[in-house]
């Protein structure tokens, strides 16, 4: 059997036009690392231009050009100091101490779970923009079971957890069902269901049964201790559960029949149908799973951190999850790493604010920039390669020719 590559194996055959696999949206590992580095560089620039010492030195530089070297040196020195202060505070705030590490992990856990929910849908060719709504209904269900039912410890936790997962799964499966039966596009339905979820939660929070005793605020009591994750060495057990969940998602995707089906449907629904797969089943299953994972993210917050349920309880985890999944290339391992990174940035941002006086919004800018750079890989690849641009354009033409 001849094993030599033919030109066709080197220049991939053109894909049928009109069909672009969702996977072409995913960045490469190198692009991702570059994007993170570049975002930190831009962040450093922002730190510099907003640092008062640097600004003063720069004013002196402009006012007394005769002392160029003195004040120029000041500008450089203060800039370096400002960046060092900010980023070292960031690292200390994220991993520099036990409490810092704990905070990082606590913030990562929900991001990982919800990120897995977005990632698994992505692999089936679906854009799940609805992790936010799925998490919110999950939070309400888990919270309700957590603060009303009186069950023995362990069983109570399990019941609350199951309620949160089931509510999220239901909310997600709804999207799959709508898509499979009516062809409604999941981007539209997930976005709309996010709103529906928020108002459903607000509606329930307005009921007395969901409110704290003697209070009219739209906030539930925190879950009873019997319904919260036990803590070992300062860490609640939801965190290892998140990691185990990632492993389970990996197993489903790579080792199970369901994973085979959902990856096949994601890459080519027509061929999957011809091979006897049910796209209806896959869409409902995968969106149900995605919702379940988002529900688990909510449990990390409500049952892991003893949070009362409000319409803000999950923060923006559903939207950050999209970023985390994208950055993690829709793989479970990648999602865990991206979740840890965003958890660390978020925890480190607090430290940065406390010890270096840098506003925490900087971290949000850096996170947004990472996404921006990841979404514009050509931009990054071209940086610092201006001289080789000509050659690069040629290869572009070839790949376009092959891909057209």
């Amino acid at each position: 059997m001849a094993m030599s590559p033919t030109p066709e194996t080197l220049i991939p055959e053109p894909e049928p036009t009109g069909r672009r696999s969702v996977s072409t949206w995913l960045p490469t590992v190198r692009d991702t690392v570059l994007a993170i580095a570049l975002a930190l560089v831009v962040g450093a620039f922002l730190v510099i231009v907003s640092d008062e010492q640097v600004i003063d030195a720069f004013k002196n530089l402009v006012n007394y050009p005769g002392s160029f070297f003195v004040y120029g040196g000041d500008v450089l020195r203060y800039s370096a100091e400002a960046v060092w202060d900010a980023y070292s505070a960031l690292v200390r705030g994220a991993v520099g101490s036990g409490p810092a590490l704990q905070r990082t992990l606590e913030r990562s856990a929900p991001l990982i779970c919800a990120g897995l929910g977005v990632a698994i849908a992505f692999r089936a060719g679906l854009f799940n923009i609805g992790a936010q709504g799925q998490a919110l209904v999950g939070a309400l269900a888990a919270g309700y079971v957590g603060f009303t039912w009186d069950l023995p410890p362990g069983i109570h936790l399990l019941a609350a957890l199951v309620a949160g997962l089931a509510a999220g799964a239901f909310w997600g499966a709804l999207v799959g069902w709508l898509k499979a039966t009516s062809g409604a596009h999941e981007v539209i339905t997930t976005i709309m269901l996010n709103n529906v979820a928020r108002f459903v939660v607000l509606y329930f929070l307005a009921k007395e049964a969901f409110q704290k005793h003697n209070s009219d605020n739209l906030i539930t009591p925190p879950p009873m201790d019997s319904a919260t994750f036990p803590t070992v060495a300062g860490l609640h057990l939801g965190i290892p559960l998140a990691v185990l969940t990632a492993a389970a998602v990996w197993w489903i995707l790579e080792r199970s029949k369901l994973g085979f089906e959902l990856r096949a449907v994601g890459a080519n629904p027509d061929a999957s149908r011809t091979a006897g797969m049910s796209t209806t089943k896959v869409y409902i299953m995968v969106m149900g799973l995605a919702g379940l994972l988002s529900g688990m993210a909510a449990c990390m917050t409500v049952l892991g951190l003893h949070q009362s349920v409000t319409d803000q309880v999950v923060g923006s985890v559903g939207f950050d999850a999209i970023t985390v999944a994208l950055l993690g290339r829709a793989t479970p391992l990648g999602t865990v790493l991206a979740g840890l990174l965003f958890g660390a940035l978020s925890a480190g941002g607090l430290g940065m604010q406390a010890s270096a006086g840098v506003p925490p919004e900087l971290i949000q800018v850096v996170q947004a920039l990472i996404v921006l750079f990841v979404a514009a890989p050509t931009l990054i690849r071209n940086l610092g390669r201006i001289r080789r641009r000509r050659a690069k354009q040629k290869t572009d033409v070839v790949t376009e020719g092959a891909a057209a």
């Binding site: 094993m3 029949k257 040629k394 020719g401």
Partner: protein, 503 residues
């Protein structure tokens, strides 16, 4: 314009795709480039069209060295290319597509559509292309879309036209029309490089034939060379063009279709009251021009679309309401017409595609889990058995050649016991060596007693395989004839003539 290629070489890493190719195309000549899939024809043409830079060698136009940096350079030098996959904007009119990229304006940025229309009309008349400049491209049949591509190239003042596998997507009638157009172009001085692996076509229009094998020119031949000679040059060994088989009369009817009617999603009646039966151990060939209801008919047999009326029986059992999962499990093997669309998942590995409809059987799964070792063993076995040319079982199927992609589909469908095999266009876009192989496998499946239904628009294939031939026209089976029916008569039936003979 005279085109001369001297010692052109292209290497990708350690792999030499083109090795010192020499080629001369005289003005007004139809020069055929014959070779199997993967022989290096496309690489050569991509260099000629400026898409790839040669590693060594040169391209001379009228004796002057030409260095192309991109397709733009090739176009302005007078080289036009009609790709296998058309580069047209479906929602634009013909004239708009032709003007695309070099739009003429009336100043102030207003498009001068009239000029483009006029140009299309002129070229269409001059070369007898019969293209309406105001038709929307998406409404045109494939054959006409191809002519739009030719007009695009001619509008760019092409003196050398490269046609890359132009007949792969055409019906027999359209192929005849295209050949007429090629002769017309030639008569008016345009040179044509005609890339193909179909011997009949080469002999019909070619002035000179250059055969390429494994990146090298293995020889040139006049169009008077026999098909067997050309095939041998192309493949490198003698090839059996016709499958060795005896026609058979089948046993009991295994698959029976009764009064099948299918309405497509747009409300058109596409299959009209079709009845036939396929017996065990025979091949029923459904001949017909593309788009006469064959696609919908076989989809309804598998259960991909539900027939709106009629009954389908497998061994006497009604399966009209079954979906594909059930039908596949019942022992129907299915090779779809458009393999990259319906036959495999391009980004999946060869290994995964080889179990695309088998992964749920006990052989390849246990409970919710896949049995990876069994899947791997199956892949190694099938790759060997079907001679699938792939680097590893993990290679994505999208990066294999068309012939090998089809072998993956065939290998998968043949790897379980079948009662019925339904294969549509089993060798479309497949090289000669693989055609021979696939045809042999189909016949041996028949000899095992499987009822085989072949749908093909290529009469050669129908003749090679069928024990009985049913002709489909306008959604109906207009006649069922024996395999020794003359070509002309079948051609007439396919074109909708009233049947005189029916068996």
């Amino acid at each position: 314009m005279r085109l001369e290629i001297k010692g052109l070489t292209k290497r990708f890493g350690s792999f030499t795709a083109n090795d010192k190719i020499d080629l001369v195309v005289e003005p007004g000549e139809i020069h055929c480039l014959l070779g199997e899939n993967g022989a290096g024809k496309s690489t050569l043409m991509n260099m000629l069209y400026g898409l790839l830079t040669p590693t060594e060698g040169e391209i001379l136009l009228d004796g002057q060295p030409a260095g192309f940096e991109g397709p733009g350079d090739a176009l302005s030098a007078g080289i036009g290319m009609v790709h296998q996959h058309f580069m047209l904007v479906p929602v634009f009119t013909v004239a708009e597509n032709v003007m695309l990229g070099h739009e003429k304006t009336r100043g102030a940025g207003i498009l001068n559509r009239e000029a483009a229309r006029k140009q299309v009309r002129e070229l269409s008349e001059r070369y007898q292309l019969h293209v309406d400049p105001d038709a929307l491209v998406e409404d045109l049949p494939v054959g006409v879309q191809q002519r739009v591509e030719i007009i695009k190239a001619l509008a760019g003042q092409a003196k050398i036209l490269i046609l890359d596998e132009p007949t792969a997507v055409l019906t027999p009638q359209e192929i005849d029309e295209l050949m007429g157009i090629m002769r017309e172009l030639k008569a008016q001085g345009t040179s044509i490089i005609f890339i193909t692996h179909k011997l009949r076509e080469v002999k019909a229009v070619g002035d000179r034939i250059t055969v390429i094998r494994r990146g090298k020119v293995v020889g040139t031949a006049p169009p008077t060379a026999s098909e067997a000679e050309l095939a041998e040059m192309m493949v490198g060994r003698s090839v059996q063009l016709a499958v060795d088989k005896e026609n058979k009369i089948g046993g009991d009817a295994v698959l029976r279709a009764q009064n099948i009617t299918v309405v497509d999603p747009r409300g058109h009646l596409v299959v009209k009251d079709v009845s036939f039966e396929v017996r065990g151990g025979e091949v029923l060939g459904i001949a017909g021009v593309q788009g006469n209801g064959q696609t919908e008919l076989i989809k309804s047999l598998l259960g991909l679309v539900k027939p709106d009326a009629g009954r389908i029986e497998l061994e006497g059992k009604d399966i009209s309401r079954h979906g594909p999962r059930q039908s596949l499990a019942d022992g129907i093997g299915y090779v779809p017409e458009d393999r990259s669309h319906d036959g495999f998942v391009g980004s999946f590995s060869v290994r995964e595609n080889l179990v695309l409809d088998l992964y749920r059987t006990p052989e390849f799964s246990a409970g919710p889990a896949l049995r990876l070792d069994a899947i791997e063993a199956n892949a190694r076995h099938r790759i060997e058995e079907f001679d699938i040319r792939t680097e590893t079982p993990e290679t994505p199927v999208a990066s294999l050649s068309g012939g090998n992609q089809q072998k993956v589909v065939i290998a998968r469908e043949f790897s379980r016991p079948l009662k019925v095999l339904i294969a549509s266009q089993p060798t479309r876009g497949v090289d000669v060596g693989s055609i021979e192989f696939i045809h042999k496998r189909i016949i041996s499946e028949r000899d095992n007693g499987t009822a085989v239904l072949i749908v093909s628009t290529e009469l050669d294939e129908i003749y090679a395989l069928a024990d009985r031939i049913a002709v489909m026209y306008d959604g109906r089976i207009v006649a069922t004839v024996p395999p020794d029916t003359p070509r002309e008569q079948l051609g007439l039936l396919m074109a909708g003539a009233t049947p005189e003979v029916s068996a």
